[in-house]
Symmetry: D2
Subunit: 315 residues, 4 copies
């Protein structure tokens, strides 16, 4: 990949997550003015891939990203990164807490430091910026007095850290995904995740029926979200994260079953689950308790047996 | 097929059912001394096919046939016939009811006329014959005084019908099946049945899990029987009749799933359900209420979609 | 219980099973001419209870008993006994094998020694008797030359054992049940069985739905049989044995659910599972792997919580 | 109820929804500075009830409200209202669009008019206010130039409507709920909703198991959301809206089952579904397709039957 878009300006948490990925090496990282802009740039080909946050351990899902993923034309996730989020309060050098009248940040930054701000800056006006780094830029430009941002933004914008670790929840992690236009999925690693979204007829038991299609094939569900469908009352996209990879027979058969039984289903990628230094994997879910016969060898043997039956063998 | 075995001698209900089948035309019909003998003759190749009763609407399953079907080497059902069974009492010409001291029949003939015999021949000794027609032969040879048999056996053995329609249940039908050594199944007709037997781990919910594999794929279960496994306490073969044909994708996927999840599964054939003049179909079960997406076209579309996903397409 | 009926004459396997039960102590044991006669005698009050075989580990279910259990007026099982069945060949003293021209037994005795008879008495005529002990009586009266019977019948009828252990399957056990008119069930022992029969609408998934009602409440299914409903084509009674007791909340709730969802359901008793010297329990099924929250205490706590909710408490 | 709290100041959408409820008649409506403040005031008894938004047809769930509902001590929903949301742009009389440098609104107001603002006020600074009405108040005080607010706020704050119907999605509705401390639920109306939240062991199939408890009892699920549990990675509260009322036996039994099987379950109220002039009900879900035997009469009959069984009756 030569060009990868992300929520700019430089020094956002998204850039930090993106730089932890192997795909970022040697690529041109392109700051863009919003997550919708990142998705649009991938879709129109002005970048080869884009990095966006999808879920935060405190805030939950990132609704515009979920909604953007089910728009057209299709996109797929090829990689994920999990980042422990550390918020700091940035000011122009020399500014004291008592001098802060306006503080800016991205909506998620504001949401995750609400308690700290209420206690320490009760009178400050809070302004929404398009990113935490843009908030820092506003401080540098003198438009506001402080920003809730990442530590990286201090150097980027020539600011100083007035307060560190100001998140209300110190253990928050955010999960980011790298998106491309449709492409063959990366090969299975044995600890993969498959993301998909589906809509279903609005009748009793239809969601249960779809989840049963996963369960009978030993596919574990690690996350489920519902998002209202634009322009339709009482209808939802269900966003699912599952254990496994589309190349595996159990997942393949489960996806085919969802394709038959749901009103519409959107495959959003199979990719390796993030682990390691970037922080604990989000939604890694249960240690796989394999259903009897859910492994690839059992599928291979069963298919061979079935082929035999259809051709006159019996065992 | 050149040679087809059946429970002899000539004029049994089994022969009558066999003669209703297209396969009987031009074939040599070979009377054999018992249903186990019929199965053995198919297995050892001394006949090309065999016809045996499998289920009676009054008596239920025919246990030795069910048990024989799951023995080795494997056999498959290629056709079924349903016969309305009409029992008569045969005697040597001139014999009066009061003169009958001993009456013979096959065990099923005895069971299905028990009420009539108790009322009309309370003092008669009842003897088990290897077939209803053999019972008639015993009358002809003077070994017993009467036989509960089919009307055809009268002419065959030179006897006369002393009482007609003596079955306790006038509407009884028996389902017969034509068996061969493993061979490609007959092509699907759109109203087919698949017969199979399986064993499962003896733990809670395991049978339910297997039935769920059928249900999620819209395969309807029309009959279930349990038969103890020889030499094992508390373990059972479950014999199932299902709607559909192994050549159809829903049934194929369901069978493959059973192969993965059951301890052992025996495919016993896919074949057209009997209807029409031979009597009402046994176990024809429910009018197919198709599960959304269970038809072959939905399977084809889902497979094509999945192939696309694995190769980088998304829709 | 003062009078208990059983399949006579004396010295049948049924009497042997009955004598192993605590209820037989001090009771008058009344021989009756058949299992249907035993059920009828319990129903009309001429005996207080009746003992009948219900299942054999080789032969499977005893169809007339299953069918009789779902007739009217209702009966319930209050106790079971499991008996290892040992067949012997009885003759009048001094009879040699070569002299045997006719051999009598109950149909189950004939079925379970078919292989031995075919090998050792290939030319003998086989006659059906109403019980194994009645077969022995026929030998004593000189009507046949030999009987397949229980060892006890030798002394009873003054016969000698010409061949011992002649069952084709040496490990066969038969399960017997003690029946009464409806009465409060015996108290739970912690290792109980509940027997029931039900019919269901003939549509796809209806049996699965009923089994799910058991499974979600942690009730284990240890046996399932289908029996055709007299006078109806393609409709069945399903006979079920389950782990647990009607007095327990999980089983109670499951039964109530079956009552709501099945076409008709017949409760056939909750009673202690047989174990011990009488032979291994048939259908004892799985060691209970308790479903989370299926025990009585969890039910009690949940009910108390629900009562609270309905009255304005929340926890 | 004498005092009911809501998100103030006066003229918010929440006040508008609250005034549509019968409980508001004659009550003192108390403006409070945020939804968390409303929940806290109900909990500490400084108001008798509180009105908060819970779900928007465009934005989805309102995370802080969901998270607040599962905090302690418990609260219950006793009523809902659905309000069609109409956003207007308010300015001080005489202000022209070109003069607007800063626009304020509640986060949801900003989110739902993002497209309109980007197109019509591309250079304006966007500030987060604690409510739409507070945004209008900031305009009145001269702190910002415009507010995205409800039409009611114009009169309240002496402003004029510069642009009407500026929501990106014209059909947006918001669902509000009225909360109290635990109290007996309002009586069932026949078209009720039950709201609950639960956590489950993090193992495959556990969510499916819980949804099955609803489905087997004919309880329809109309909404499901997952919210991360604070301080725990990869664990979630599942928020569910279901058809039915805790006073009904099917729902009661389903809740008791969830209590037994989930790690923890929080009952959040049974109340009449909103309909009519306030806008279409959100999540009203499917027209009830009643499961066979799910109605109260079937439950009553089944319970009576079970009581009979336990006392010696059988039918």
């Amino acid at each position: 990949m030569r060009r990868i878009g992300f929520l700019g300006p430089h020094a956002t948490f998204t850039e930090q997550a993106l730089r932890s990925l192997p795909q970022a090496e040697g690529a041109e990282l392109v700051p863009l003015p919003g997550n919708p802009a990142v998705l649009a740039a991938v879709r129109d080909g002005s970048v080869d891939a884009g990095c966006v946050p999808i879920e935060n351990s405190v805030e939950g899902a990132v609704p515009p990203v979920l909604d953007g993923l089910v728009s057209d034309p299709p996109l797929v996730i090829v990689q994920e990164a999990v980042l422990a989020v550390r918020f700091v309060l940035l000011v122009r050098p020399g500014t004291a807490l008592a001098e802060i009248r306006a503080v800016a940040s991205h909506g998620h930054g504001i949401a995750q430091t609400r308690g700290w701000i209420a206690e320490n800056l009760p009178a400050a006006e809070v302004r929404v910026a398009t990113s935490t780094s843009e908030g820092a830029a506003q401080v540098a430009r003198g438009e506001v007095d402080a920003a809730v941002s990442s530590p990286l933004a201090a150097a980027q914008h020539g600011l100083e850290v007035l307060a560190d670790d100001i998140a209300d929840n110190a253990d928050a992690v955010t999960r980011f995904v790298l998106l491309t236009r449709p492409a063959p999925p990366p090969p299975p690693t044995g600890h993969d995740r498959t993301t998909l979204a589906l809509t279903t007829e609005n009748r009793p038991g239809s969601l249960l029926g779809l989840l049963t299609e996963l369960a009978v094939r030993g596919v574990d569900l690690t996350r489920i979200e519902s998002r209202p469908i634009k322009d339709k009352h009482n209808e939802y996209w269900f966003h699912l994260d599952c254990s496994g990879h589309v190349a595996e027979p159990a997942m393949g058969e489960a996806l085919a079953a969802l394709h038959r039984r749901s009103e519409s289903v959107r495959f959003l990628g199979s990719y390796s689950r993030a682990t390691g230094s970037a922080g604990p994997a989000t939604g890694a879910g249960a240690p796989a308790v394999p259903l009897n016969g859910a492994d690839a060898e059992a599928y291979r043997a069963a298919t061979a047996w079935l082929d035999g039956l259809r051709n006159g063998a019996c065992t």
